[in-house]
Amino acid sequence: MHTGIHTGTHTGTHAAEPRRRRRSGGSPGFEEGLRGGPQRESAPPTHLRLSRSRRRPAGGGEASRDLEAQLGRAESGLSFLSGLTGVRIADYSMARAELPGSSESAGESGLRVLRKGRLAGECHSVPFQLEFQLLETQSEENSSATITDLSIIVEPTEHSELSRFVARTEEKRDLFLFFRSLHFFLEWCEYRQRTFQYFKEKHPAMVQLPGGPAADSMGLQSPCVPGFELVVVWTVHIDEGGKVVPELDLLTKIPEQALTLDQREVVARAPHCFRTLLLLLGIEAAIDSLIQLLRTEE
């Protein structure tokens, strides 16, 4: 008999942050971006020699060396930003567009400029494409900018949460929130996958990953006592405000016979106890203690 007591556990991003066990501290791109600069200047690529010969000889060599240096600096700055934000830009364009309606209103309401832009790239290896319209208003007292239209396409992944979140963000036209929430969401998914894989590697006989390591549930079975199974369900949820909240639940699968012997209501209290365990020990230690619990039956 399958007893599924489904209770939500809200472990907010402050209680148990994703811990990077396998990476050294600091974002790799940050230091890479800094190192990228000097290296570039010392080794001019071969195609430059061709362009140099096409230029006029007077001061031409210096100009291209200077351009090269500028390009090196720009590209190292770009790689620094990519490492910092996790966003890599593949394509970008921005153009001024016609304002809908009359242009005679420019006198009273101040200067209004409408820009249309496209941005495409990857955020933590999830490709995205977005188109937006930016309306800038400049009056005597202040200037303001508003995003008047936003359309986002994210490559469909196994994360169904994302499509709902993207639709909400398009409605609210919150461009920055898109990147921020996407970053936190993917970080949590990555952390979940690493954690599940870690436990699978450590206890291959006990741990089942029915949906694969990227899925949201992990089953724990005792090797010697068949029929008992604990399922840890870990969903990453993006709420209305764009906040990313991981939710962990515990489902139990107990044979009917054992349930009748359960006088102390261990099964009924299990999800609640797991929630307490999460708050006390954090995610990894809580799952580890569940595994130890099943192992001691040997």
Binding site: S27, A74, G77, L81, L84, M94, S144, A145, I147, F184
Partner: protein
């Protein structure tokens, strides 16, 4: 240091006055007059001019700083169309790199490498409205230190830095971005309520600097005939723009009619789920119907 444009204009107003005074002095210095009295007043004026010049220079630097920090980077994006040319020469590559660099402002996080470290620019927005931007200047050395920043004092920058700066730099940046965006959003909502819906407010809006505690008295009928509602919104989570606690009470003598209680019960969930100005927009729509 994200100041409003009004402040900048008052400073430039003073600069304009100083320039006029200087021009007047130059004009009045021309005719050579033997009168001692005039000469005395001239030396007085000279001293005054020197003092004012000094003040002008100080104010000019202040204006520059204010402009730099109050700038909304996303509006500085220059138009850029990539040329569909397979062989990109060096200049085109540089143009492209520079444009991509600017495009990072669209992600809300951008920055540049400085001589000693890096300067990160945080842009904030709320529901499509681009708001203030802040910067943090870091010096690269062991340990990473924050050299300068324009983050307001009530944002827990030191705590976030202590927690993440050394161990996970990306998380530090995103966590700070969360706090700043949430603060900007709350401030924007409070400002909109104060300016856009002042007819509904029986008393002015009261708030703390972090905008995590808002207290106001409103009516659904601006003509003042209905009983007022005294609302108190608490935002316990510094990274959200929606309140965690909403209490609506009646502060006055006498009993409240049943209709007031019904309205109160209907209003409370609205504040939990929607931005402040959206709630009042719905009041406006109800009144117009």
């Amino acid at each position: 240091m994200a100041s409003s444009q009004k402040h900048v204009f008052s400073l430039t107003g003073v600069l304009y006055q100083l320039e006029r005074l200087e021009a007047r002095d130059q004009r009045s210095a021309k005719p050579q007059d033997e009168h001692q009295g005039l000469q005395d007043s001239e030396t007085d004026l000279e001293a005054k001019i020197r003092k004012l010049r000094k003040l002008r220079d100080e104010l000019r630097t202040k204006v520059k700083l204010h402009e730099a920090s109050a700038r909304i980077p996303i509006t500085n994006l220059e138009p850029y169309e990539p040329l569909k040319n397979s062989e990109e020469n060096l200049e085109m590559k540089l143009e492209k790199a520079k444009a991509f660099f600017q495009a990072f402002h669209l992600t809300g996080l951008s920055g540049k490498l400085t001589t000693k470290g890096v300067c990160i620019c945080f842009s904030t927005a709320f529901e499509g409205n681009i708001l203030d931007s802040y910067y943090v200047d870091l010096i690269i050395k062991k340990p990473l230190t924050i050299h300068r920043h324009s983050v307001p004092v009530f944002i827990p920058l030191e705590q976030i830095a202590a927690k993440y700066l050394e161990t996970n730099f990306q998380h530090f940046v995103y966590s700070l971005s969360e706090h700043l965006n949430a603060y900007s959003g709350r401030k924007y909502q409070a400002d909109q309520l104060q300016c856009g819906f002042s007819a509904f407010l029986a008393r002015p809006l009261q708030r703390n600097s972090l905008c995590t505690l808002l207290s106001f008295t409103y009516t659904t009928d601006p003509s003042g005939k209905s009983f007022p509602f005294c609302a108190r919104l608490v935002y316990q989570d510094l990274t959200t723009t929606l309140p965690t606690n909403v209490t609506i009470t009646y502060q006055g003598t006498g009993a409240t009619p049943a209709s007031w209680e019904d309205q109160r019960a209907a209003h409370e969930p609205l504040f939990y789920k929607n931005a402040l100005y959206k709630v009042f927009e719905s009041f406006l729509r109800v009144r117009e119907n």
